[in-house]
Symmetry: C2
Subunit: 358 residues, 2 copies
């Protein structure tokens, strides 16, 4: 048997409920494929703030760095919303991304056909959408310096941030994106605002240069405002998309909503080496926390991404993905994806059903 | 008779065709309400680059500043796409916005009920959408300094921009937005990324402070990634929205696409004093330029906004808006909004039909 160490970070809100389901599924799928795990459960976000005063305690980071992969629930909640920046749950998330060096964030936006009617888009527009959005995750305006508050020449308060990209940051995400596109439909759309921003002009210049090394991939460029329209107008025009950190934040949420399957969508954040970070796209949903109402599918599918991209365990990954489809086909749904004629169940029971299908 | 000087800037692509229609409509609606105009047609964008070497010639700017209002078609085209930044058509547009000090950009996203089926959203989601999105237009990352290219400590090329807001810039757009909300359904949603960006934290702090002066308006805050989802999930939850320059660029295009009426949507850009700038939301559509296929409705409706917000000529503005509805109801459509059972016409003929309805 192969053995892996996994850091589990339940986080806040519905995090503990969905991580608990995903862990059980990981264990069973692993068992059936000859995989064993050594799990360590660690604190991050609001839970860590309450317990230790820091959103990313040192022990959590060092456990994460020493493990083969990190599975995260979600962080954040009303309780900490007014905290200063360095004491926000979200800051813990940004820190762990940066510290693990996971510069490439894979966010699939896939329509699950049993759920297509959950999209607010017309069936013929949404059906068959299958986009892989790659977001640069450790650079840009999220981390750029200088940043902060100050006073301008008129004595007024100012707030400022820096959008900045260096060549190597663009190049590595570009190579990553071209390689992903090669395994898909060989169409890569790079999204920027190169008609206004210098950071985007350099982005586009590097993508054009690196495209020479991938003649089999068709590269296109789109301004971010147009991309936000095109995702609604005709999402099927896209195969693989790649963009910077802040545009990726906005467009990936938009794309996931196009599918109507936001409760289904996982993500993987990968670096050049070291453990990857795997988490659902949705948030911590504090309004339904602790009520056994959360949809664990996205976290279970994040566990599948962990197996595939984090551990190279393709078979176990497929086992989980097939189990999810099977559970959907058997009609089990949480409230967020429920529709007439299907079976409404809680988070725990859905977990049991997924296990039956693994 | 009241008399106004109007600067017309046809710009590039379909610009001349749509401005020509809008001018005729302005003249007739004005005539019927006792208004006379003194028009001056000026160059900007690619047309100006070709003729003078600059995207915003000095004469254009000074004519604009001396007039009561500026009506713009659209700028940009493939031909100038690879120009350096200071020689891009878009740079002319950014310069005129800055020079006129038009910090508040009003972008209505309204569903025209005869066109609701043009939306890719389900009818029940799109029908009745009526959002006024207010975009800050002369600050933020579009204009922030420092910006440019450079070399970092590793000798690599970098590209960078500065997202920056000062208190007075936020305060004036906040007051503007609260006042617009007061005349609408008294709900204002301010969109930011205050969980990550200092510039957004100051934005939110000032909005909270200024809200005290508008107790009759219900203020809410939303992160930009969530806003881009909510616009698709349930656009009717929004009344008035306000956001910074770059988020407004992205969200206003998204919102307009939600309505399915992008060829119908005008915009107004206003400052504290001096002439406003009025233009359709859509671009210069170089692919159909000169073919009499362009949809002039958005420019005609921009002329109505010019009358209302730029000149205070409410009656003439309503005359134009009613004429647009009447023309739609009589079934006339350009290709972009055509559907079975309606009458397909070109730009010119649609102009004639609008004139009949004025
Ligand atoms: C919680 C927040 C800091 C985070 C981000 O902006 O990256 C989230 O929106 C995401 O997309 O993972
Ligand atoms: C053409 C471009 C510079 C402009 C902008 O980004 O503001 C356009 O997209 C707009 O929204 O008016």
């Amino acid at each position: 048997t192969r053995s892996y160490s996994i850091t589990l970070i339940p986080g806040d809100g519905i995090g503990p409920e969905i991580i608990s389901v995903a862990k059980d599924v990981l264990v069973l799928a692993g068992y059936l494929e000859g995989i064993k795990y050594d799990f360590r459960e660690m604190l991050m976000g609001g839970a860590a703030l309450d317990a230790t005063g820091l959103p990313l305690p040192h022990e959590t980071l060092s456990a994460a760095k020493q493990s083969h992969a990190v599975l995260l629930g979600a962080v954040g909640g009303y309780k900490w919303d007014r905290n200063d920046k360095h004491l926000k749950p979200e800051t813990g998330l940004l820190q762990i991304r940066k510290e693990l060096g996971v510069f490439a964030n894979l966010r699939p936006a896939t329509v699950y056909s049993p759920l297509v009617d959950a999209s607010t888009l017309k069936r013929e527009v949404a059906e068959g959408v299958d986009i892989m959005l790659i977001r640069e995750l450790t650079g840009g305006i999220y981390f750029g310096e200088p940043r902060g508050f100050g006073t301008n020449d008129n004595g007024e308060e100012i707030g400022f941030n820096t959008e900045i990209y260096a060549t190597h940051e663009i190049d590595r995400i570009a190579h990553f994106a071209f390689k992903v596109a090669q395994k898909r439909r060989r169409k890569l759309c790079s999204v920027d605002k190169a008609n206004v921003l210098e950071a985007s002009m350099l982005w586009r210049k590097r993508f054009l240069a690196i495209a020479q090394e991938y003649p089999d991939v068709e590269l296109s460029h789109m301004y971010v405002d147009n991309a936000s329209m095109q995702l609604i107008r005709d999402p099927k025009q896209f195969d693989t998309m790649v963009t910077n950190n802040i545009f990726g934040d906005i467009l990936s949420d938009e794309a996931s909503m196009v599918t109507g399957s936001i409760g289904m969508l996982p993500s993987a954040s990968l670096g050049a080496s070291g453990p990857g970070l795997f988490e659902p796209i949705h948030g911590s949903a504090p309004d339904i926390a602790g009520q056994d109402k959360a949809n664990p599918f996205a976290t279970v599918l994040s566990a599948a991404m962990l197996l595939r991209y984090g551990l190279g365990e393709e078979k176990a990954a497929e086992r989980i993905e097939n189990a999810v489809m099977d559970t959907l086909n058997r009609g089990f749904r949480t409230g967020d994806i429920y529709s007439a004629g299907t079976k409404l169940v809680g988070c725990k029971q859905l977990g049991e059903e997924i296990l039956k299908s693994v």
